[in-house]
């Protein structure tokens, strides 16, 4: 099982290079071994909680919240830390963390007066698997299209050569 922290390290690396949203990077860069483990989880996946998935996608649609997830991928942080890093009021950051928490992307724990945030473990994998499922469908289709396009291209070249003769 890949834990979400190492997944995020992976995302950060890839994200620098391609500038795509993190959840898409997960989908487009998973190695084969990872896909197999997603495959075993499919029965569970099909019945996953749609409502929470909606919440997850809504949560991921905001750049600050994606930044918070990447930050938490490096280290756990308090809401105060996060507010400082993102130049935001405590109230503003609490709202963002609340959205991420409801989507199960983040869990929080209060010790004394400090609320510590960390990445939620399962939700991220669900998003990745959801996208991956569709990427596989289209990938299979487009692999077949690739072959046909290649064939047509060769044919066109051959025809052009014949005409020149």
């Amino acid at each position: 099982m890949l834990d979400s922290r190492s997944a995020f390290n992976y995302i950060s690396l890839a994200n620098d290079a391609r500038g795509l949203p993190p959840f898409l990077i997960v989908a487009s860069t998973f190695p084969l071994a990872r896909r197999k483990s997603i495959c075993y989880k499919l029965n569970y996946m099909v019945q996953y909680n749609e409502t929470r998935l909606d919440a997850s996608f809504a949560a991921l649609s905001d750049a600050t919240r994606r930044g918070v997830l990447e930050q938490l991928g490096r280290a756990d942080a308090s809401i105060t830390d996060l507010a400082g890093k993102f130049h935001m009021t405590l109230t503003g950051m609490k709202k963002h963390v609340g959205v991420l928490e409801r989507a199960a992307l983040v869990t929080t724990e209060k010790a004394g007066r400090v609320r510590t945030c960390r990445l939620g473990m399962r939700a991220l994998e669900e998003e990745a698997a959801w996208i991956e499922r569709h990427r596989q469908l289209w990938s299979a289709r487009f692999d077949a299209l690739d072959k046909i396009v290649e064939h047509l291209k060769c044919k066109e070249k051959a025809d052009a050569r014949r005409k020149r003769r």
């Binding site: 290079a17 795509l20 949203p21 898409l24 989908a27 487009s28 084969l32 896909r35 197999k36 997603i38 495959c39 075993y40 499919l42 996946m45 099909v46 749609e50 909606d54 996608f57 959801w130 996208i131 499922r133 569709h134 990427r135 596989q136 469908l137 289209w138 990938s139 299979a140 289709r141 487009f142 692999d143 077949a144 299209l145 690739d146 072959k147 046909i148 396009v149 290649e150 047509l152 291209k153 066109e156």
Partner: protein
């Protein structure tokens, strides 16, 4: 290689899928051929039917009628191994701009998507962007749930295919 990682075959063949919003799904991929060739594979039924339903996806295509011009109709009839009843998909081409753009509707129900495909050629390669817009969020959710059937096998076949290529 001078162009580095992004120009490698692995990067070329990458299919990206993104749910743009509650009602929109976007799929992109770059093909190593000029736009007129890629467009041909989308607009000639005898070619289209060879890739739209690759064997690994389960269903087989019984018939494929496509009148690819603005206002023209299409009708695809599938048979899925798990069902006795053939399934028909049909709709209308709203826009056909050769080598550039295809827009079609899906009319089996009032929950069908409008699909827009654009072809952008650059240095002999073509970026294909397929955009599906569903009338409601529920319609997209349902379309996605449906396509998950029979997927474990599909994963296995794709893995095989990929392993054979690398």
């Amino acid at each position: 290689m001078p162009e580095g990682k992004e120009g490698s075959p692995a990067a070329m063949n990458r299919t990206a899928v993104e749910r743009k919003s509650d009602r929109e799904l976007v799929v992109t991929r770059t093909f190593n051929a000029p736009a007129h060739i890629v467009f041909e594979a989308w607009s000639k039924p005898e070619l289209f039917k060879r890739w739209w339903v690759p064997k690994s996806l389960g269903p087989s295509l019984l018939s494929c009628d496509m009148d690819v011009r603005t206002g023209g109709a299409y009708r695809l009839v599938f048979r899925h191994p798990t069902s006795d009843q053939p399934m028909a998909f049909f709709g209308t081409y709203r826009e056909v701009t050769p080598h550039k753009r295809l827009v079609w509707t899906n009319e089996e129900s009032d929950q069908g998507a409008v699909t827009t495909v654009t072809f952008e050629e650059n240095a002999g390669k073509t970026l294909v962007t397929l955009h599906e817009l569903y009338p409601t969020k529920a319609a997209l959710d349902e379309a996605l749930a449906g396509s998950a059937e029979g997927l474990p096998e599909q994963f296995a076949q794709l893995d095989e295919l990929l392993a054979g290529r690398s």
